[in-house]
């Protein structure tokens, strides 16, 4: 085997080792700022990874992700403040509620319509959720939002109430989301999901229950978004209906496509690019976002499979000296 092929084989593992190393940087010897940025990146990456499940793997255009994220934050805050649940119990409760709502929305949307209609129905649901949060004064505080004073309780003798504790929760959420997507990708279910994305008709001929697969992906993806949302509330100490805005979803889709839809590493790479570019540029803040916009356009035009998608293709070519068959999807 040529050295370049060896390097190419090793590179993905190097990437994951790098991620593991990055995870430990804020944990030891990092400033509060670094810990916060780490938490933010982990949350954003977890959110993008969970969106990737429905958008990247199942190829379904769901626009309700920020709504479920915000729902998770509100549901957990309300359960803790009014029903006296602990933070930890509010996570599964919020996830279950989100899953139930996703099923109610997803069933008719996917059953009768799907495709771009799904995008619009989920978008409409998201905006309705935002308007509900802004109008249901007694429960959500309406436009005044909710001030969050609780913090995650200590667990197994480990203090989660400070910023470092919350950082570990965010990392755990990212790892859980990654694990879910990883196992789905390797499973029979995941392969069927990709078949559905590539050709629904063909998939149904192969005996795949197309509707059921899309539904499950949507429900899992939405429940994971709600899980990530539960941490947002204590982390920011304040939630308001703006959190559920569809702009957030559009940015998330951008992150997924930028990094590479249907790849495990894509959403993480996308998050780094999305948050990193404005941070690294030393020009007036207005123009940082203009540059980010230009980068997004260029990536879509020049590498439609996203950064990780293109990297995978290059790696494949290096691994095998002969021209590779059509690029495989959904790996790493």
């Amino acid at each position: 085997m040529k050295p370049i092929a060896l390097v190419a084989r090793a590179l993905p593992y190097v990437g994951w080792l790098l991620l593991a190393a990055l995870i430990f940087v804020p944990a030891y010897g990092g400033s509060r700022y670094l810990v916060y940025i780490g938490t933010l990146i982990a949350l954003q990456a977890a959110l993008a990874t969970s969106l990737n499940l429905i958008v990247g793997y199942a190829g379904q255009f769901a626009m309700s992700h920020a709504a479920f994220y915000g729902f998770g934050a509100y549901a957990s805050a309300i359960l803790i403040n009014s029903a006296g649940l602990t933070f930890w119990w509010s996570i599964p409760a919020a996830m279950l509620a989100a899953a139930a709502i996703a099923a109610i929305i997803g069933y008719p949307a996917l059953r009768y319509t799907g495709g771009v209609y799904l995008a619009l129905i989920t978008f409409a649901f998201g905006e309705l959720a935002r308007l509900t949060a802004a109008n249901w004064q007694d429960v959500t505080g309406g436009p005044m939002g909710m001030r969050i004073t609780y913090a995650p309780e200590a667990l197994f003798g480990f203090n989660f109430a400070n910023s470092r504790g919350m950082y570990w929760i965010a990392v755990a959420m990212l790892l859980v989301t990654l694990a879910v997507v990883f196992f789905i990708q390797r499973s029979r279910f995941g392969r069927a999901l990709i078949a559905v994305r590539e050709d629904e008709v063909l998939a149904s001929f192969l005996g795949i229950d197309v509707m059921r697969h899309k539904m499950i992906a949507y429900v899992i993806s939405s429940a994971l978004a709600a899980m990530v949302g539960t941490l947002y509330a204590p982390m920011m100490s304040f939630i308001s209906p703006e959190l559920l805005s569809v702009h957030e979803t559009i940015s998330l889709v951008g992150i997924v496509i930028l990094g590479g839809a249907g790849t495990l590493a894509g959403p993480i790479v996308g998050t780094f690019v999305f948050l990193g570019i404005p941070e690294l540029l030393r020009i007036e803040s207005l123009y940082r976002l203009v540059v980010l916009g230009v980068v997004i356009v260029l990536v879509v035009l020049l590498m439609p499979q996203g950064i990780v998608g293109v990297a995978n293709r290059v790696l494949k070519r290096w691994q095998r000296p002969k021209p590779a068959p059509p690029p495989a999807e959904a790996e790493n």
């Binding site: 436009p143 001030r147 100490s237 304040f238 207005l286 976002l289």
Partner: protein, 384 residues
């Protein structure tokens, strides 16, 4: 990099920061966090400019004198991008610098609340402007926080009786956006209106980004209202005034909870009366010389024209001077508790006269602008 390697590197970085601080002992670092981009920029940008302009003027005069030593100011600015999580990351970035003990900025509650909470926890002298800051002031942990915009509970006390008297209204409807600020407006204004003998039969909230007010205005028709209390910014109020003159059968007298006469003056021929709060001075119709001069300096400094939101710049401008004066009086640029106490005990005659109450709520003298029978006048309402 190993953990110990990392620690070494961090130590070196910390040492270089310390060296820098020692070399520039005569400057005070001021932090700023504002939404310089995104939809909240129209509020935060003028506020940021007011802060920059004030410090620029102080520096040009050679800075402040504290215990015989001259200090100038340097500003470090972060962009919140109109997003709560980025407001916090901007704030955290400022906190990384141990020399930054004072922070100015943020006029909207979404990004403001989390940032202010963080500043409260970190013992930062913080000057913000957003509405919900009022709910934090006076609570434990927020002793060092100030809200530079006048609280509705204070402003309304002089505004309501004056406008009821000037306009002679008896039955007033309230129409406001469904926003955080509106709830505190209704809580403050409705009882005062009723106390002044006015009935308030209808209070309506509209979706904040509404541009077509026809349907909601129809709710106010046929109620024999003679006045409409509305807000909260010029664009909304201009639309409401214009559309209510077009629809007809609606009150022709307006009480504007906001800082400019422009929306009413534009339609002065179609309406019977319009009163507004000149929370700063009336920038559009400035009469006093110090206001006129300030406007010229503002234009020269920002290379921009006046806009309805320019008055945020003025509130922050005067606040900066109050803080600088407090530092001189206390004789320290780092004793934040003493500086805060000094600001709260101060009555400052700047471009406008202002002071802060014991919890850090701004109280400025306000002028009330009155448009009646096509004529514009103003009355001064004293602050207590």
């Amino acid at each position: 990099m190993t953990v110990s390697g990392l620690k070494l590197w961090l130590l070196a970085a910390a040492a270089s920061v310390a060296l820098n601080a020692a070399a520039s002992a005569q400057t005070v670092k001021i932090g700023m966090v504002n939404s310089l981009t995104g939809p909240h920029a129209s509020f935060d940008l003028p506020a940021a400019e007011g802060v920059q302009m004030a410090f620029d003027e102080i520096n040009k005069k050679g800075g402040i004198t504290v215990k015989g030593k001259k200090y100038t100011f340097t500003l470090v600015s972060e962009d919140a991008q109109s997003k709560p999580e980025l407001a916090v990351s901007g704030a955290q970035k400022l906190l990384r610098d141990d020399d930054i003990k004072v922070v100015f900025g943020i006029l909207t509650s979404g990004p403001g609340m989390p940032a202010a909470t963080l500043f409260g926890k970190s013992d930062i002298l913080y000057f913000g402007g957003f509405t919900l800051l009022d709910t934090l002031l006076g609570k434990p942990g927020f002793e060092l926080a100030f809200r530079t915009l006048d609280a509705d509970s204070v402003v309304s006390k002089s505004f309501v009786p004056t406008s009821v008297k000037e306009l002679g209204v008896k039955k007033v409807g309230i129409l406001l956006p469904n926003e955080d600020v509106s709830r505190s407006i209704v809580a403050a204004y409705k009882p005062l209106l009723e106390g002044a003998g006015v009935t308030v039969p209808i209070v309506e909230y509209f979706q904040p980004d509404t541009s077509d007010f026809a349907p909601v205005l129809r709710k106010f028709q046929n109620m024999e209202l003679d006045g409409l209390l509305t807000g909260t910014n010029d664009a909304m109020v201009e639309a409401i005034v214009r559309q209510s003159t077009e629809l007809g059968n609606l009150p022709k007298k307006f009480l504007y909870r906001g800082g400019s006469g422009a929306p009413g003056i534009k339609y002065s021929k179609q309406i019977d009366g319009f009163v507004w709060q000149i929370l700063t001075r009336d920038l559009d119709y400035a009469s006093e010389n110090k206001v006129k001069e300030w406007i010229e300096r503002y234009k020269a400094f920002t290379k921009k024209d006046m806009s309805p939101n320019t008055y945020w710049a003025l509130t922050f401008y005067d606040t900066v001077f109050m803080m600088a004066k407090a530092m001189e009086q206390v004789g320290s640029v780092t004793d934040l508790k003493a500086i805060a106490a000094s600001i709260k005990g101060m009555r400052y005659d700047g471009v406008r006269t202002m002071r802060f109450d014991k919890d850090g709520r701004a109280q400025a003298d306000i002028d009330i602008g009155i448009l009646k029978d096509g004529k514009i006048s103003s009355v001064r309402a004293p602050f207590e």
